[in-house]
Amino acid sequence: MHDIEQEALAWRSQLRKGTLELAVLLLLRRGRRYGLQLVDELNASGFGVAEGSIYPLLSRMRAERKVETEWVDPGAGHARKYYRLSKRGEESCAAMLDAWRGFKSAFERIAGGTDARASNRG
């Protein structure tokens, strides 16, 4: 039992890794955000993200010109680096969301089929 839980946990972490970029793109589509703010929102939504993993991702998205950055000092004693979506980022977000929705509905058809068979048997 313990092994199966471990396996499910590892699988969830793979799913998160594969979808983190889309989650970040979707949050940035609502407006500019800074790193810790993204971490807080992702955790509040239940997506769950390792604290440090957001910055290498954001750095790469910036190198790919999907986001633009801007330092803002709110006078809180430390400036914050804000990210906003570029045109390219918006396009990337739309394409990934499409792919995700297609995948999700395909998966639900499969999962639904399994459920129906299980309940027929029962």
Partner: protein, 195 residues
């Protein structure tokens, strides 16, 4: 700027040192951003600020490789792509693939260079056939003279378009293969298969 706990300052120093491979503006930007993150956590009264980041060297590595690959793909330079792929190769196979593609690039460049040399040295550049021998390229010096004695250059001025097209095709194919490899590596990196 408010001072951070010693442990956090030490983490930032080590992170900065480990990011030395990046342009200094990018490195300073990353370090400043992590500093801001830690400062905000500290201001919330949280302890154990740096533990979630893991060792600074490993954390720095997660910036370097992805960035190198993604940046090189965006710029489209074969040189940058090859370097990013070679430095990130974790298996001999990956390294050999880059080596083979680098040699192909050199061939392509060589062919284009020969097309440029043809008008200057028409007798020394082209395809040499005759006396049971065959040679392709540019031949200079007494040794080549002896080696290709009895042969005749058969391409004439056609050598220029033929070398140009062949060179361009080889360069194009090698570049395509390099980009294909880089994209595949990025997918692997992002899905955490190699993590």
């Amino acid at each position: 700027m408010r001072a951070l706990p010693t442990e956090a300052e030490q983490f930032l120093r080590k992170l900065s040192a480990a990011l030395a491979g990046l342009p200094s503006a990018d490195r300073d930007d990353i370090v400043a951003e992590i500093r801001s993150h830690l400062a905000e956590r500290a201001a919330r009264g949280e302890a154990d600020l740096v533990a979630p980041f893991g060792p600074p060297e490993a954390y720095a590595a997660s910036f370097l490789q992805e960035r190198a690959l993604a940046g090189a793909l965006a710029r489209g330079s074969s040189w940058a792509l090859g370097r990013a792929l070679a430095s990130g190769a974790r298996r001999a196979g990956g390294w050999y693939a880059v080596l083979v593609l680098a040699i192909l690039h050199l061939y392509g460049i060589g062919l284009v260079a020969m097309a440029a040399l043809k008008p200057l040295f028409p007798a020394n550049v082209g395809m040499f056939v005759g006396d049971g021998k065959f040679g392709l390229g540019a031949h200079f010096g007494p040794e080549a003279e002896y080696k290709y004695s009895g042969t005749r250059e058969v391409l004439g001025w056609w050598a220029i378009p033929i070398f140009l097209v062949a060179g361009a095709l080889i360069l194009h194919a090698a570049n395509w293969a390099l980009r294909h490899l880089a994209r595949r590596r990025l997918v692997q990196l992002r899905s955490g298969l190699w993590a």
